[in-house]
């Protein structure tokens, strides 16, 4: 089954839109604009009917798979169910039909929601001030590091180095580069945690920050966090918390109480906002009091009963977005937090951790578990046993698609060979977990009995295995 390109539905002169007749006198723009500025040939956009458009995109949607289709166990991505009521809320006319240049007095309802969201995010992380401006997780990382940069500039210190464990998300080192830092990578120890000796060896007066995900990308809680924070802070550095894995610790431990100085959230992970096939996300940043002057301007404030944007922020790192960030995503996250309530947030974490541990327990005999340490909301297996049979992790992932289940994150973290990183989230029920476990076992059996079945997978998807090398060698990036 394949679907033609939208332009191929076209027929010259066919239209899919209607507009009111122009009701003012039409004049020739060429008379008033500089010479040569009027487009001579219309952009070659499709000429299709409304029905053509609807059928085309409906057909494309049928070639896709979302959380609503079934389990989506991508490790570190927290693909939980996206509540439908939150979609309705994010389409409430008088919450959404507002313009970013409207004066604050007309949008007090929205600002009240955003302000309360800020308060909740501060409370959940144990931090003091929050910026909602970053539009994604890596945007949040970048902002966090720029806050750190501004902090040291203000202190008159030049620090050039950001330390990142080798298990970190790729965005961590990339964000550090974007913020103008040199990246130093440190190795993990045999327990899958930060190696304290390696850390000590790297930390010095040049160290601006350590970026840490806790629990880390193996799902393992960095038990030595108290020692780690002391090593960094004693050297005058700051501690950055990558909040990608916040779903593992809600109500159990707060980054602020672990002495982290800056944290970013991913509202599209922990707080259930839909990922949209690759965005929009939202990456609010929360900081301790001493870093508050440096967060992006403007900052949402409250005076008496009035909410306003504070632009008078002389030490701010500046803006990172034209307006206030991904407002529509914030509305959904707000609704989610109010639905969960204080108690519900803790239950979310408990069930996410229980689901992951159950799966790990059931799968660890079939697939190698390279790190035996306790893990929380996700765990990492290795396909190295199956690799010996000539089957790679990517083949296992593709075979899962034949069973109409999305594959886990693969080949990440980089410290595990043939990595299979599984995060079921709390919204999967026992039957769904059992089905995934069973499928993984069946695939392992297939590898022994009928390896070509797995090697040539997928068989039942709309396209078979795609040639990525060809796509990169001869890029065809447009029609």
């Amino acid at each position: 089954m394949s679907e033609a390109l939208i332009k191929d539905y076209g027929s010259p002169g066919r239209k899919g839109y209607s507009l009111p007749e122009l009701d003012v006198v039409e004049k020739n723009p060429a008379e008033s604009l500089p010479e040569g500025m009027i487009r001579e040939e219309a952009a070659k956009l499709p000429e299709v009917s409304e029905v053509d458009v609807v059928r085309h995109y409906t057909s494309l949607s049928n070639m896709n798979y979302g959380v609503d289709s079934g389990i989506y166990p991508l490790g570190s991505c927290t693909m939980k169910y996206n509540p439908k009521i939150n979609e309705d809320i994010a389409r409430t006319p008088n919450l959404t039909n507002i313009h970013p240049q409207q004066k604050e007095k007309y949008v007090q309802g929205s600002l009240e929601i955003l302000y309360e969201l800020k308060e909740y995010l501060a409370e959940i992380s144990g931090m003091d001030e929050v910026s909602l401006q970053p539009a994604s997780g890596s945007h949040g990382e970048y902002v966090g590091l720029m806050i750190i940069r501004k902090y040291f500039e203000k202190k008159g210190e030049t620090r050039t180095k950001v330390i990142v464990p080798d298990s970190a998300h790729g965005t961590n080192p990339a964000s550090a580069t974007m913020a103008g830092y040199n990246v130093v990578e440190i190795a993990s120890n045999e327990r899958g945690m930060v190696d304290l000796e390696s850390l000590k060896a790297e930390v010095d007066e040049d160290t601006a920050a350590l970026m840490l995900t806790n629990p880390n990308t193996l799902g393992i809680f960095e038990k030595d966090i108290c020692e780690i924070q002391k090593i960094i802070h004693d050297a005058g550095g700051l501690l950055y918390y990558d909040g990608a894995n916040m779903n593992a610790v809600l109500g159990y431990v707060r980054p602020g109480d672990m002495e982290f100085d800056v944290i970013h959230y991913n509202l599209h992970k922990t707080f259930s906002t839909p990922h949209g096939g690759g965005g929009p996300g939202s990456g609010p940043v929360a900081v301790k009091e001493r870093l508050a002057p440096f967060i992006p301007a403007p900052v949402l404030k409250k005076e008496g009963e009035k909410y306003y944007w504070d632009n008078d922020r002389p030490d701010s790192l500046g803006r990172v977005h034209a307006f206030y960030g991904n407002y529509g995503v914030m509305l959904r996250a707000y609704a989610y937090i109010r639905t969960a309530g204080a108690k519900g947030l803790k239950e979310i974490t408990e069930n996410a951790v229980l689901n992951a541990n159950y799966m790990k327990h059931k799968l660890k005999d079939t697939y190698e578990l390279p790190f035996a340490s306790d893990s929380l909301h996700e765990f990492v297996l290795s396909g190295s046993r199956q690799k010996k049979e000539g089957i790679s992790t990517v083949n296992i992932a593709k075979r899962l698609l034949d069973y109409k289940q999305y594959a886990p994150t693969i080949y990440f973290p980089l410290i595990v060979k043939e990595a299979i990183m599984v995060e079921p989230t709390e919204t999967e029920n026992l039957q769904s977990l059992d089905r995934f476990i069973e499928t993984m076992k069946v695939i392992s059996q297939e590898i022994e009995e009928e390896p070509e079945l797995v090697r040539d997978a997928p068989h039942n998807t709309v396209v078979r295995k795609l040639d990525e090398a060809k796509a990169a060698r001869n890029p065809d990036l447009r029609w």
Binding site: P29, M37, V48, Q102, G277, A322, R338, R464, K465
Partner: protein, 452 residues
């Protein structure tokens, strides 16, 4: 928590399988001294009904655009949005999907992005488009860093006619990379070309132009292109309003190297400024392509020779190259790009042209009406697309007072430039949604008000 489906009995069964007594045993790795020992200071859970009521109460504290005739623009534009867009993006196979890591189960998202990339190229006259960036301003930030890397030079010439927030974001992004920003002055509502020419030198990494510019004027890109002929290393960056490209010559025809902008005008609601989508398109050039930030979707074949789509050229990206990546961007604005694509497909060749023309004509109509009023000047003269800079000079009324009084008549008269720039006046934006009756009302009310 109603989105957890396991019952206490099931949870108990799972604990037994694991060999744990209670759930809290699973958190033993967290040191006791840092464990959170109270409950969150967050209100108790709400049912769906209560949540709806709460949101309704808060929403009623807003006065949204339906209460006014709005002439606000300045980077966010209230265009007509065909009903089918929301009906299609609410299909949950689209909006509840992740980044298309498993291509074979994500062909819908991937093909839609390929089509988006194609249509952005058609509109801008460029060779290659990425899959979207976070918003227009951050797209400019990425573009100046890219220009610095590509040219190995430091100076970014950026006239005051570029949106002030975009300039601020570009500087935030560029400064840690050693880029030096030179902001050239205004000449009327245009850039001062003579000053730009003087600033152009061997150390110039990029020249940035907004098209039409922040004040609504259509800059003479041909003139800039001529200036750049003697400075081949300098990267020509154009920040374009994609809707204007229905009417205006695409930047690609003036030799632009990078075109970025805010895609919101294409089928995305104003939504208090987000989520929006940044677009970025470049010349069809291998060297530039290797420096491009963000995801790209390419067409390929499966093992049976069927057409399919994959994310490609990923060695530029953070998950492969880590600290050496062209950008840190991971999540982009895929769903907003899908909305833009559906918009471009629905409006199509004729519709985009017609919307752009209506914007121009209605803006011109209002502008000419207002220019007839005493004490009112239009700085742009006749040169504009969908926005113009209005100066009102009366001794007895402040601009704030005029804004407030217009507002009491149900008119948001424009963006007060003093709130965003060092300039005085209103930035007035007109889209195809306005009727002649509304435009006449604006002119009439302003005239009456100024004669009071």
């Amino acid at each position: 928590m109603r989105y957890i489906s396991n019952t206490p009995a099931e949870q108990e069964k799972m604990l037994q399988e694991i060999g744990a007594d209670k759930v809290s045993d699973l958190f033993q790795a967290i040191p006791e001294n840092i464990k959170f020992d109270r409950s969150f200071n967050i209100p108790a859970a709400l049912s769906e009904l209560e949540l709806k009521e709460l949101i309704k109460d808060k929403a009623e504290k807003n006065l949204d655009l339906s209460e006014f005739d709005s002439y606000l623009g300045a980077g966010s534009y209230d265009h007509y949005i065909p009903a089918i867009i929301d009906h299609l993006i609410i299909r949950s196979e689209f909006y509840t999907a992740y980044t298309p890591y498993q291509a074979e189960l994500s062909q819908g998202t991937l093909q839609a992005i390929y089509e988006y990339q194609s249509m952005i190229c058609e509109l801008t006259g460029m060779g290659i488009s990425n899959a979207s960036l976070l918003d227009g301003a951050s797209a400019l930030g990425e573009a100046v860093i890219m220009a610095g890397r590509h040219s190995r030079k430091e100076k970014i010439i950026m006239p005051e006619t570029v949106h002030p927030a975009y300039r601020e974001v570009a500087q935030t992004y560029g400064k840690p990379h050693g880029l030096k920003f030179v902001e050239t002055s205004l000449k009327g509502s245009s850039s001062n070309y003579k000053e730009i020419k003087e600033e152009l030198d061997g150390n110039t990494a990029a020249v940035v132009f907004q098209y039409p510019n922040f004040f609504g004027t259509v800059e003479d890109l041909a003139e800039i292109a001529r200036m750049l002929e003697n400075h081949k290393k300098a990267v020509f960056i154009v920040v374009a309003n994609p809707m204007a490209l229905g009417l205006l010559t695409p930047p690609g025809e003036f030799g632009a190297d990078i075109v970025v902008g805010e895609g919101q005008p294409l089928g995305n609601p104003v939504n208090y400024g987000g989520p929006n989508l940044g677009f970025m398109a470049i010349r069809d050039d291998r060297r530039l392509l290797r420096q491009l930030p963000g995801r790209l979707v390419g067409k390929t074949e499966d093992i049976e020779g069927n057409t399919g789509y994959v994310m490609t050229m990923q060695t530029r990206e953070q998950h492969i190259r880590r600290e050496k990546a062209t950008s840190n961007i991971c999540t982009n604005e895929a769903l907003n790009a899908l909305m833009a694509a559906i918009y471009l497909a629905t409006m199509g060749k004729k519709g985009v042209e017609e919307v752009a023309n209506q914007c121009y004509q209605k803006t011109r109509y209002l502008k000419e009406k207002l220019a007839e009023i005493d004490d009112v000047t239009v700085v742009n003269g006749d040169n504009h697309f969908n926005e113009f800079w209005l100066k009102i000079e009366t001794a007895d009324k402040s601009l704030e007072e005029i804004e407030t009084k217009m507002c009491q008549q149900g008119i948001l008269a424009g963006v007060n430039l003093a709130e965003l720039t060092d300039q005085q006046g209103l930035l007035v934006s007109v889209t195809e949604k306005k009727t002649r009756e509304e435009l006449d009302k604006y002119a009439r009310k302003l005239e009456v008000l100024l004669n009071e």
